[in-house]
Symmetry: C2
Subunit: 156 residues, 2 copies
């Protein structure tokens, strides 16, 4: 075989796990997730799919693609706290947290993880690490801050 997987366009290959077929719709989902800064729901992704071209896509496909991506550790599956809808985001090298405005529901990604001890204390990198009761080994964490964004504060 040739290099990696470049029948014609070598540009779109990137980092893709073995068993996954690099189909048109998967490229698109992947690209969409890459272009945004915050997690998207299946519905949102679906909306952006045919926004680009007038192709025919099925919602079910999106779900299946996202499931496949998740199994291959390409994406993280989450939910906003307090909401039922599931959202997906490309697995970031580092994790991201958000501040959520209680008024306008805007979500502001935080630059730094507010958990001070994070990298060193909470991450698995350096093997077992205890935290709080019962020798629980923390692998990852999720944080959401709630409050009011600049704009909404001013409207008062």
């Amino acid at each position: 075989m040739k290099n990696e997987c470049d029948p014609k366009n070598k540009k779109m290959a990137e980092e893709f796990p073995g068993g996954l077929k690099w189909t048109k719709q998967r490229k698109r989902v992947y690209q969409i997730l890459k272009d945004v800064t915050e997690p998207l729901s299946a519905a949102q992704i679906y909306a952006r799919m045919d926004a680009w071209e007038q192709e025919q896509y099925a919602v079910s496909t999106i779900y299946r693609i996202l499931a496949a991506f998740e199994e291959n550790s390409l994406v993280d599956k989450t939910t906003w706290m307090g909401e039922g809808t599931v959202v997906y985001e490309l697995k970031h090298p580092g994790h991201v947290h958000y501040a959520v405005c209680l008024e306008c529901h805007k979500r502001i990604p935080l630059e730094h993880c507010p958990l001070h001890m994070s990298a060193s204390h909470l991450h698995p990198a350096d093997g077992k690490q205890e935290y709080e009761a019962d020798g629980f080994t923390v692998v990852s964490h999720k944080i959401e801050l709630y409050g009011y964004c600049k704009e909404c504060q001013e409207k008062r």
Copy 2:
């Protein structure tokens, strides 16, 4: 008016916001949430409702009650990580966070909030307090830790 709200039985009155009628089904939901240590889904609550007596309850009622409770800040609405289902728990005086075992899905309430700056830095008590980008005023926060509990670590 009398004291607080004691027509006959003063015992079951407790801390209930003004506009809410203290009905049989609301008492029950409230009591159920009070008796458990971890958040419950509407379905779980519903299950426990008629487990007690053979009364007739409607699922929709549960949802409406929970919505009402939430609006009146009696409960917190959350979701487990990556799962779509919404769960409710009584609003604790202080906030509570959990460590969730990725293996057995056990939830361990944390004694202390892992956010160091919490009380001082993240709480609204002392008025405006900036945190990260854009003068966002943090009012509250939610944290979940993921990892492996003692038992599940040993099974390896």
